[in-house]
């Protein structure tokens, strides 16, 4: 794990994007991506919790006995989620209202526990912080992209502003089926691209070896 620091940060964007590649945390992804406003709020809350829990867990990784590490991680994560909840309730009540149950559910979001277990508990503080930031932003852009598609098609708006007057929005896009459809199509496209790239590499590599 001696990769340069920048890679710890950028890997969350594409190579191991939590939503599109690791397929983690899909439940909030599907539920919250109804509007871009919600998506941005959720992504910021997630990033905050990810970074803070990664840092704390990385700091305490030598103190916590392996047998009780999972409960300790959960307590740390739940603490930060509750902090986010309280702060949102105090200063951003409309966002708190629209995210609803999905703020407390960040506790059980597998991206956060996954990063704590797979990365922060084995790496230094700096790398864990960058990992948390990268994963948070990676989750964020995936969520915003999905929300953009769904809000434009399902509400006819972007960030709450109407785009085309008289456009009849497709209701299905803001309902669960729309979430599955748009996420499925995106995943399909990403996988198709990746397999095509892999095939090209294979096509060009073997002849060279044979010569």
């Amino acid at each position: 794990m001696n990769a340069p620091a920048s890679r710890e940060f950028t890997k969350g964007f594409s190579k191991s994007n939590p939503v599109f590649v690791l397929l983690l945390g899909l439940c909030p992804t599907l539920a919250v991506s109804v509007t871009v406003h919600n998506a941005v709020g959720m992504a910021l809350a997630m990033t905050f919790v990810l970074v803070c829990s990664n840092v704390i867990i990385s700091l305490a990784r030598d103190i916590i006995p392996p047998k009780v590490r999972i409960p300790c991680f959960i307590v740390v994560i739940a603490t930060f989620v509750t902090i986010v909840e309280l702060v949102m309730q105090a200063y951003m009540p409309p966002l708190y209202k629209s995210l609803g149950i999905f703020v407390p559910l960040i506790v059980v979001n597998c991206i956060i526990l996954g990063r704590a277990e797979a990365f922060a508990s084995k790496n230094a503080v700096g790398a864990s912080l960058l990992d948390g930031l990268g994963m948070g932003f990676g989750f964020g852009w995936a969520l915003v992209l999905l929300a953009t598609v769904r809000e434009i098609l399902g509400h006819g708006t972007f960030f709450g502003y109407e785009l085309v007057p008289g456009f009849q929005p497709a209701l299905i896009m803001i309902l669960p089926p729309g979430a599955f459809l748009s996420l499925g199509l995106m995943l399909g496209w990403i996988n198709w691209r990746r397999s095509r790239r892999a095939r090209r590499r294979q096509d060009t590599a073997p002849p060279l070896k044979l010569e």
Partner: protein
């Protein structure tokens, strides 16, 4: 080696206890900071709902009245609403405001209802809590918007206060006019695809009126009409 294995469970307990204690401490500290703000936000929301259902009310002219009557497992409360601050002697009662509830499609819908002084007319309603399906039932809070994305860049953008079209249709209606007609209510502009939510909002409104009139014996609701109110029926649609 033996001592270590014996000690270990204790170490585990101590570490977990310390982690939990620290977490509790941190949360207590954050709550100290945010608690007052949260309380203020809640009051603001309640006040905004009261002022929304009584357009002529003074923000200082709201008086909470507690009653002996019980509704939904809680003591029933309502507000007396005045047009001037409470300490002003020339103030006049412009009506009452109270809360009603009804089960919607996927949540309990809570509505703050404003009533005229004789409790015969609804001055306005405001939905304060609902978790209905986005795009269908949740449209009961929808605000009619005529702001397009290019309005941000255009200086001639119309500055019109957005109006919640579904909720505002109840303003100024008499309670006797809210009568069932088939599976819905007469002259209520329904939410498309969300009959259950539409009916639930009406029932929550009527619930507020009915509880208020039994608690204060103002503006009696006919028992016969209340028996025929359409219930939320499980159907394919919302």
């Amino acid at each position: 080696m033996k001592a270590e294995t014996k000690e270990q469970p204790l170490v585990l307990v101590v570490v977990l206890a310390v982690v939990c204690a620290l977490a509790g401490l941190a949360l207590g500290f954050v709550y100290q900071l945010t608690g007052p703000s949260i309380h203020i936000q809640k009051q603001k929301a309640d006040r905004a709902a009261l002022l929304a259902v009584h357009p002529g009310a003074s923000p200082e002219g709201l008086k909470l009245v507690k009653t002996e009557h019980e509704a939904h497992g809680e003591q029933f409360e309502y507000h007396e609403v005045y047009d001037k601050p409470l300490d002003d002697d020339t103030k006049e009662l412009i009506g009452y405001a109270c809360e009603g509830r009804a089960q919607g499609y996927s949540s309990t819908i809570v509505v703050t209802v404003g009533l005229s002084p004789d409790a015969s007319t609804i001055t306005g309603i405001k939905i304060t809590a609902q978790q209905e399906t986005p795009g269908l039932g949740a449209n009961c809070e929808e605000v009619e918007s005529d702001t397009y994305i290019w309005n941000i860049f255009s200086p001639r953008a119309k500055a019109q206060a957005p109006k919640p079209w579904f909720q505002s249709q109840f303003s100024g209606r008499s309670i006797d006019g809210l009568v069932p007609e088939g599976k819905s209510y007469k002259d209520v502009r329904a939410l498309s695809g969300a009959t259950i939510t539409t009916n639930a909002v009406v029932r929550a409104t009527l619930d507020a009126v009915e509880t208020f009139s039994t608690a204060t014996s103002l503006g009696q609701v006919d028992a016969e009409t209340s028996a025929t109110w359409p219930e939320a029926e499980g159907g394919g649609e919302e």
